[in-house]
Symmetry: C2
Subunit: 356 residues, 2 copies
């Protein structure tokens, strides 16, 4: 289980070579390639059961993680990620100069804002009472936004910047503000070999977000390290699989696919906000990575108690009622999903021009 280590710059080069839509590896192919290195003969029954349930490990090497997270149409490069980080933290991307991507997807607190519904421009609560999903591992979701209306992070990043109840900044305003800052003009030129556009600003942000993946003990377990989980966590994993939770919360993200919601019974907090999913009532399954850090739960942030969230979920989606102990076991398993966050140096942003 020795993973080849390669430098980030090499990843970038590989990604560039892989560019174009003809010969693209699908996401499933990429995950298959990254996880096939586990020697199945050395696995315990529970490890085999977990892999059969569709869980996939995040590789432990940063370079392999970035290969999985990369987008051939917006390849990750060091310079682009650095620019994207600046933009992610820059409150000048909002009309008020006060709200950045990091305001609602705060990297210090699980990549979320820990409030039930997002608060944006002018202290406006999200009009549908939608909760901010975590940006950590968001790259591994099939689609973005609760109704899956954005195909990837690049498309997603365009939304909240412009949305009036969020950052409330029209494209033209964002571009004119960025263009007024000489260091940004130069940096965009270096990264994109072009002038500043709204699209390449959001591409840089998405490239940064693609690096925000958090390997955890559960990955080590899937990779063959049977000691990575405690006995209680293993018990919880077993319950999680046996009860059917892994039918949706699976894959590398333990979530991230569009699913019918509510599937079996009425959702208890249905009246908090008016969100009902996409046109087919499908809702994006949240990732369970770092779930113990991302309360409140559900699309409308209606619960802060993780045990209640587990119970409401199994009732609504599986039509079953868990025993107290089963709920506790599952929550115990969640501890193994709290991952290691990338070390981020807080950016020093280029100053606005002297006269404006």
């Amino acid at each position: 289980m020795k993973l080849r280590k390669i430098a980030i710059s090499t990843v970038a080069v590989l990604a560039l070579v892989g560019c174009g839509s003809d010969n693209q590896e699908t996401k499933a192919d990429k995950i298959e390639r990254a996880t096939q290195k586990v020697d199945k003969n050395l696995l315990t029954d529970l490890q085999k059961k977990a892999l059969n349930a569709g869980f996939q490990a995040l590789p432990s090497s940063k370079a392999e993680q970035l290969k999985l997270a990369d987008n051939p149409n917006n390849p990750i490069t060091e310079a682009k990620v650095e620019l994207g980080k600046k933009l992610y933290f820059d409150p000048r991307l909002s009309k008020s100069n006060l709200i950045s991507c990091n305001t609602c997807h705060n990297l210090a607190i699980g990549g979320v804002d820990i409030v039930p519904a997002a608060i944006g421009h002018g202290w406006t609560e999200n009009p549908h009472h939608l909760n901010s999903p975590t940006v950590y591992n968001a790259v591994f979701a099939d689609k973005q936004f609760w109704d899956g209306r954005a195909k990837d992070l690049e498309e997603q990043a365009q939304g909240p910047i412009q949305a009036p109840p969020e950052m409330n900044a029209p494209k033209e305003l964002v571009v004119s503000k960025l263009k007024s800052i000489p260091e940004y003009v130069e940096e965009f030129k270096k990264v994109f070999n072009s002038e500043i556009t709204f699209e390449n600003a959001t591409q840089a942000i998405a490239a940064f977000e693609r690096t925000l993946v958090t390997p955890s003990r559960f990955d080590k377990f899937l990779q063959g390290d049977n000691t990575a989980l405690t006995d209680k966590e293993k018990k919880g994993l077993e319950v999680f699989i046996d009860k059917g939770c892994a039918s949706c919360h699976t894959g590398i993200a333990l979530g991230g696919t569009m699913q019918p919601f509510p599937a079996i019974k009425k959702y208890k907090y249905n009246d908090v906000g008016d969100f009902k999913g996409d046109k087919n009532s499908m809702v994006k399954t949240p990732t369970l990575r770092n779930i113990l850090e991302t309360a409140p739960y559900f699309h409308n942030g209606a619960m802060t108690d993780i045990k209640e969230a587990v119970n409401v979920m199994t009732e609504t989606q599986l039509g079953i009622e868990l025993k107290k102990e089963e709920t506790e076991n599952i929550v115990e398993f969640f501890k193994s999903l709290t991952g290691e966050k990338p070390k981020i140096t807080y950016p020093i942003l280029p100053a606005m021009p002297l006269n404006n």
Copy 2:
């Protein structure tokens, strides 16, 4: 001019030894000690003139900077600074869970919020239309707040957390939230050998803020490096001294003392907000370090153009009108005051408990 380098931990020990109020070095003594190492014989006339005008260099060694910035009643230690950094970035110190110290004193953008008047809880504008002063080098001000009502950063940090239009969190709420987070309980115990109190939370924040000092080319110039300033900047420095600006904007902070305002003529933007200084109409002189990054200017944030700010200042406080070229020269000098910011790793904060 060789500066002795010592490790931060040694600084902490020295500070602890220096604790107690009997034998305390005054701030002036400390600055004198730190700056006396310059060999006056090797200085140019302008360097001598600058030192005679009262400017003092920030030492280039981090350890010497921290000695200057230290508070014997709240000694800087590595562990305390690390805790203080977490609290500084933690939005859970506000009632809403959305506003941290860093919201208004954003370390990415000059230690300020770049809006004219601070925006706090519920998107409330500061009721006196007061502008957020920069946290960088704030340690070197004689007093804190625009009316100087806090004697130091430790006292200052208690204000905005509780103020209803700012973070709006009563002491008891802050303490109960922090106490609900086991990692904080442990960390406070390690740092303060006590349970969590509002006072030691603000002490930790202040200790972190004391490390936020930004040496610049002007310091190198004062320390004897005549090439550290461009000819234009030197010209600007000369005008700055000759016109009398250095009568208030001097010392290590190029500001930080309480001064009568307006001193000579009516302040042009007097009607923006109702702030009139302390009971004697004294207002804290802002530091000029990083001034090109901290627009809008003046206590009420009434100007974004630095040239206008210089002109309004000289008219109001010195009763003189500058020639266009003189204003430009002074602004040129300000470039040498943009300092190097400490490298901050964005903290990963301990999560809230599972059920709350």
